[in-house]
């Protein structure tokens, strides 16, 4: 069995140091601004920080991947081109793109730069993936979180590039790169502004009894009683009154993806890289999750069963799922 690359998130230089020190094979991170899909206040890297981060990681044998995976609005391509140019100049090991124009620019201006296709591209069929490989020389595809392991295995047999699959972290019920729920509520696009549920539009109200209401823009997303675990204020994880039911998680519950039990299957299915979600999370999260999956991957390589009980404390709503990977069909 091929040893997979463990690809880990970092939202700040401190997060990158934590990921590298915890045993990441590669760390993915983005520049400040809308060029990446985690454009939150206080997050991401200035060009100077990115250059230093690359040096830190490379000195320790870890790759750094540039997430430039949002979609430039019309006439605003300059920031995305600058991000690609900086990533190449700093010697980043791959550029992760979603937009066809950014992919074309990278392939044309920097033909030797390794190119990965972001999950945001939503390429889930061999035909789509082969198009990106043929036209832009994409070397790896990050698969959308809507496929079963059997489907991943089938795709692997029909494409010329590597496969990267999410194994842990936030998961929503959406068509990756096409979701407009947050944009509907806030006016800011997840895919072009790089932020789902922008913090500036999120409000929490807790009453004296400890009951918590979370709002996105003018919409109430959920109400948690004082003894309930809370979740992220994303519309796809909201609880609604519908014609069918009241207080109903109409799309998806607050839950995190955890594919630890499926790691051996994923590795046998031809997955080259295992991805941990969470650039918006803290350094403590990165250190804990990366260390746990470092041990887990190493254990799988030695046919041992990994112990991952500690990770439940870091999951949304204190619940975890295998999502579509385990065969789940959304409503």
């Amino acid at each position: 069995m091929h040893r997979p690359e463990l690809v880990c998130p970092a939202g700040t230089p401190a997060g990158l140091h934590a990921a590298v020190d915890a045993g990441a094979d590669a760390v993915y991170c983005g520049f400040q601004g809308p060029t990446n899909a985690r454009n939150f206040p206080g997050l991401n890297f200035s060009p100077r920080e990115m250059e230093q981060a690359v040096t830190y990681a490379h000195d320790r044998g870890t790759k750094v991947l540039a997430a430039i995976n949002s979609f430039p609005p019309a006439g605003q391509m300059a920031a995305w081109k600058r991000a690609v140019d900086d990533a190449v100049r700093f010697g980043m090991d791959a550029v992760i793109v979603a937009d066809i124009g950014v992919a074309a620019y990278t392939a044309r201006m920097h033909p030797d730069q390794r190119l990965h296709l972001s999950v945001q591209a939503g390429a889930s069929s061999p035909e789509a993936i082969n198009f990106y490989c043929r036209e832009f020389g994409v070397r790896r595809v990050v698969l959308p979180r809507i496929l079963t392991v059997a489907e991943i295995k089938g795709i692997h047999a029909q494409i010329p590039c590597e496969i990267e699959a999410f194994i842990f972290g936030n998961i929503g019920m959406m068509a990756e790169g096409r979701c407009s729920l947050s944009a509907y509520a806030t006016g800011q696009s997840t895919n072009m502004d790089g932020v789902c549920s922008p913090a500036s539009h999120v409000h929490y109200l807790q009453d004296e009894g400890g009951n918590l209401k979370s709002l996105l823009g003018e919409f109430t997303i959920d109400c948690f009683t004082c003894d309930e675990s809370a979740g992220y204020p994303t519309i796809c994880k909201g609880r609604y009154d519908t014609e069918i039911r009241t207080g109903y998680y109409a799309f998806e519950e607050p839950v995190s993806l955890n594919l630890t039990p499926l790691l051996p299957e994923l590795m046998r299915a031809g997955v080259t890289a295992l991805k941990i979600e969470g650039r918006q999370r803290s350094r403590a999260y990165v250190a804990a999750v990366v260390a746990a999956f470092r041990k887990a991957v190493d254990a799988c390589m030695e046919n041992r069963v990994p112990d991952m009980a500690g990770l439940i404390a870091l999951t949304e709503g204190h619940r975890e799922t295998q999502g579509a990977f385990g065969g789940r069909k959304w409503r």
């Binding site: 206080g42 400890g210 809370a230 979740g231 350094r283 870091l314």
Partner: protein, 180 residues
């Protein structure tokens, strides 16, 4: 300074009983005695971590109500490199603020030290955030990027009070360690 430097851990309050200790111990203390210490803390943040303000971005100058729920007072924090402020207020006299961050004293210390994930604390309802969420998120990320050095760096600038301040910090961390 780490937990090992606490001279004799046998005399530390046990974690469960610790919850009300800060409130009881500090209730009789006049706030005017605390204000110079708090101002020294925030001045230390400005001195030791000027990079924090770059990451804080639009959060610079915002007023954060730091509510350690087992203290008899709240603190108003304004991270402004030119006019930093950390000031205590009695609970019945809450000052105007842009955002509120509430949790137990040990939970908030854990966040400053970067030992725990704030999202996980939020999920488990141990951390409460209200008001300007954008400013609070920026503050969280800016503090997280100090790699857990913030408290030690600030304490190291306490001059003649460095040793006792470091002892207090070490005791709190030891209690927190026992709570885990």
């Amino acid at each position: 300074m780490n937990a090992d430097s606490v001279d004799d851990a046998r005399f530390l309050p046990q974690p469960g009983a610790f919850r009300d200790v800060p409130r009881m111990a500090l209730a009789p203390v006049p706030l005017f005695l605390l204000q110079p210490i708090l101002q020294r803390i925030v001045a230390g943040v400005v001195r030791c971590h000027p990079e924090l303000f770059i990451r804080l971005g639009e959060g610079v100058g915002k007023r954060f109500l730091i509510d350690a729920t087992n203290l008899p007072f709240v603190m108003l924090l304004r991270l402004d490199p030119d006019r930093p402020l950390l000031r205590a207020y009695r609970r019945g006299q809450l000052p105007a603020h842009d955002g509120r961050i509430a949790g137990s004293l040990l939970t908030l210390l854990d966040l400053v030290d970067g030992n725990t994930d704030s999202d996980a604390l939020f999920f488990t309802r141990k951390l409460v955030v209200e008001g300007d969420t954008g400013a609070v998120v920026a503050l969280r990320n800016a503090m997280d990027d100090t790699e857990g050095r913030l408290a030690d760096d600030v304490v190291s600038g306490f001059g003649p009070l460095t040793w006792p301040a470091a002892q207090v910090l070490a005791v709190l961390r030891e209690i927190r360690r026992r709570c885990q």
